[in-house]
C-alpha cells in the first residue's frame, strides 16, 4: 500500500496512519455493500429481463390490452386467428388461491394461536418442527399427491367425473401455504410483549380472554401480513397447480370444474414456443403481470408489518 494518499490525510497522531488493515477494512466494506445491494439488483434484473423478453408483445400489434385481460380465449397456437386472453387463467388462479385461503387462514391462525399461546415445552417444539417440515415438502411432490392420491379420492367421494379441479388444487395449495402463515403468524403473536398478557391476567382474565381481547388485537397487523404472504405464496405456486388443477382453459362454474392457472400456463407452454415468437413473448407478459401482482402483495405485507413496529 502506498503512503501517498495516506499522508495527505490530516491525522492527529503520528501512528494513526492508515495501514494495511485499514485498507483491507475499507475494501471489505465495499465488497459487503455490493453484496448487500445485490438483492435490489436482482429484483430490478428480474423485472428488466422478463420485460425485455415480453416487450415485443406489449408494444406489438397482437397485443390489445382490453382483450388481454378481458377475453377468456387463449389460443396462441391457432393458425388462423391466434387470440391472447388471460381472463380464464386469472379466474383460475383467483378461484384456486381463494379456496386455498379459505382453508388455510382459519387453520393456520388457529394453529399459530395454539403453538404460541397454549402449547408449552416439548409439545411446542415438536409442533413447530412438524410445521416446518410441512413447509419443506417440494411443490412437485404436492402436485404428484394431487394427481395420484387426491384425484381418485375426489372422484370417489364426490362422485364427479374429474378429480383434478379447483377443489383439489385449492386444498393442496391450502396445505402448502398454511405452514408459511402459521410460522409468520406465530412470530407476530410472540412479538406481543408478555407485559400485555400479565396485565390482563392480573385483572382476572382467562387465557382465552387474554388472547381474544389483548393478544390478537395487538398482533393484528402481523397476522394480516402473514395472511398476505400466504396469498402471495398460493398465487405464485406453479408445479402443484399445474398438476392438480386439471389445466383446462375454462371459466369455472363450481369448485369441481377444472381450471388453469397463470403460472401453470407458462410452465406448460414455454418449452414448446420458439424464442421471440408472439406466443413466447405473451408468456413473458404473463410473467410481468405475475411479478407486479406479487410485488404489490409483498410490499403491502411489508408496509402493514412495518406500520405496527413503528406505531
Amino acid at each position: 500500500m502506498s503512503g501517498a494518499t495516506a499522508s495527505q490525510k490530516p491525522s492527529v497522531l503520528a501512528d494513526d496512519q492508515p495501514d494495511t488493515a485499514w485498507y483491507v477494512d475499507k475494501a471489505v466494506q465495499v465488497i459487503m455493500f455490493v453484496a448487500g445491494v445485490s438483492a435490489i439488483i436482482f429484483i430490478i434484473g428480474i423485472f428488466i429481463f422478463v420485460s425485455k423478453e415480453g416487450a415485443g408483445f406489449i408494444g406489438g400489434e397482437e397485443m390489445n390490452f382490453s382483450e388481454f385481460f378481458t377475453s377468456p380465449r387463449w389460443r396462441p397456437t391457432s393458425e388462423w386467428n391466434p387470440t391472447y386472453g388471460i381472463l380464464a387463467m386469472i379466474t383460475g388462479t383467483a378461484s384456486v388461491t381463494g379456496l386455498s385461503m379459505l382453508i388455510a387462514i382459519p387453520f393456520s391462525l388457529g394453529a399459530a394461536i395454539y403453538i404460541a399461546e397454549f402449547a408449552t415445552g416439548k409439545t411446542r417444539e415438536a409442533l413447530k418442527v412438524l410445521v416446518e417440515l410441512l413447509a419443506a415438502i417440494p411443490s412437485v411432490v404436492w402436485g404428484f399427491i394431487g394427481l395420484s392420491i387426491m384425484n381418485p379420492l375426489i372422484i370417489d367421494i364426490f362422485d364427479v367425473p374429474v378429480g383434478l379441479n379447483i377443489f383439489n388444487a385449492g386444498l393442496i395449495l391450502g396445505l402448502m401455504s398454511a405452514p408459511i402463515i402459521t410460522s409468520i403468524a406465530e412470530d407476530a403473536l410472540k412479538a406481543v410483549p408478555d407485559g400485555f398478557r400479565e396485565a390482563a391476567e392480573a385483572m382476572g382474565a382467562t387465557r382465552w380472554q387474554v388472547i381474544y381481547k389483548v393478544v390478537l388485537p395487538a398482533a393484528k397487523n402481523g397476522l394480516l401480513g402473514a395472511v398476505l404472504l400466504g396469498v402471495g405464496r398460493s398465487f405464485g405456486e406453479t408445479m402443484a397447480v399445474l398438476m392438480a388443477s386439471g389445466h383446462s382453459i375454462n371459466l369455472p362454474e363450481n369448485i369441481f370444474d377444472s381450471v388453469r392457472a397463470l403460472t401453470a400456463t407458462i410452465a406448460a407452454e414455454l418449452g414448446e414456443t420458439a424464442e421471440g415468437s408472439t406466443h413466447y413473448q405473451s408468456l413473458f407478459t404473463i410473467g410481468i403481470f405475475l411479478f407486479i401482482v406479487t410485488f404489490i402483495i409483498n410490499l403491502t405485507a411489508d408496509l402493514i408489518v412495518r406500520g405496527v413496529r413503528k406505531g
Partner: protein
Amino acid sequence: MMFAESPLNKRDKKTQKLFRILFLMMVMLLVTPVLLILATLIYKGGPIISMEFLFADPRNGMTAGGLFPALLGTIWLVVVALICSVPLGVAAAIYLSEYAPDNWLTRSINLAIVNLAGVPSIVHALFGVGAFVIFMDFGASILAASLTLAIMTLPVVIVATRESLQSVPHAFREACWNMGATRWQTIRKVVLPNAISGILTGVILEVSRTSGETAPIMFTGAAFYLPTLPESVFDQTMALAMHLYVVATQVPNVPDAMPYGVALVLISVVLAFNALSISFRIYLRGLKKW
C-alpha cells in the same frame, strides 16, 4: 380455595377449554397431512427402492430401471448453486447485520429480499431464461439452472446468516474494537467464528430448498431425459424434482410404483436435509453460553 367459583368463572373456564381443544384440532389437522403423505409414499414407493433403483440408468423410455442420472444431476445443481449463493448471501447478511445504517437503502434491501423469496418460481425461471440462457449465452445448462436457483434461494442464506450474526452479543464486538481491531478484523475473528454454525444451518436448509425446486430449472437446464451424464456445467442435466414431474405426467405406461419411488427419494432428500438443519439448530441452542 379461597374463593368459590362463580358461574361466570365456570363459563369462562369452559370457553377456554373449548377454544383450546378447537385450536389443538386445527394444529393436528395441519400436521397430520405430513405424516399421512410420508406414510403413503413409503407404503407405495418403498417396495421399488433398491440399489438398482438408486444407481441404475432409466430404461425402456423411463418405464424401468433407476434414477441415477437425476440424482447425480440434482447434486450438480445444488453444489453449483451453493457455490454461487453462499458467499454472496453471507456477505449480504454481514452487510445488513454489521454495516448497514438504518435508512431507506437498508429498508429497500430488506424489501428486495422479501420479494426475491416471494416472486413466483416460474417468474424466476423466466428471468433465468432471459438473463442466463439467452443474454449471457450459457444456453440451457447446469450453470444457467444453478444461477437461477441460487438467486431464488439467496434469501434463505441471507435470513439465516443475519439471524445468526445478530445473535452474537454486541459486547463481543465492542470488546474487540476496544483492542484496536478494525471492523473487518472483528467480524472475521470474533463475529463469524461465533456465528458459523448458525450459518451452516442456513446452508443446509438451502440444500433442502434447492433440491426440491422444479419450475426454475425446467427451461434453464433440466432435461426430460438424457442418455449421457453431464460432464461440465455447460451441459444439460436431469434432476430429481424434474424427473418426478416427467414420470408422473409425461411418460406413458409408467408402472404405478415408479413415480411413488421417485417422490419418496426426492422427499427423503429434502426432508433429511431439513431435519438435519432443524436438529442442528436445536443442538446449537443447547450449547449457547450467553
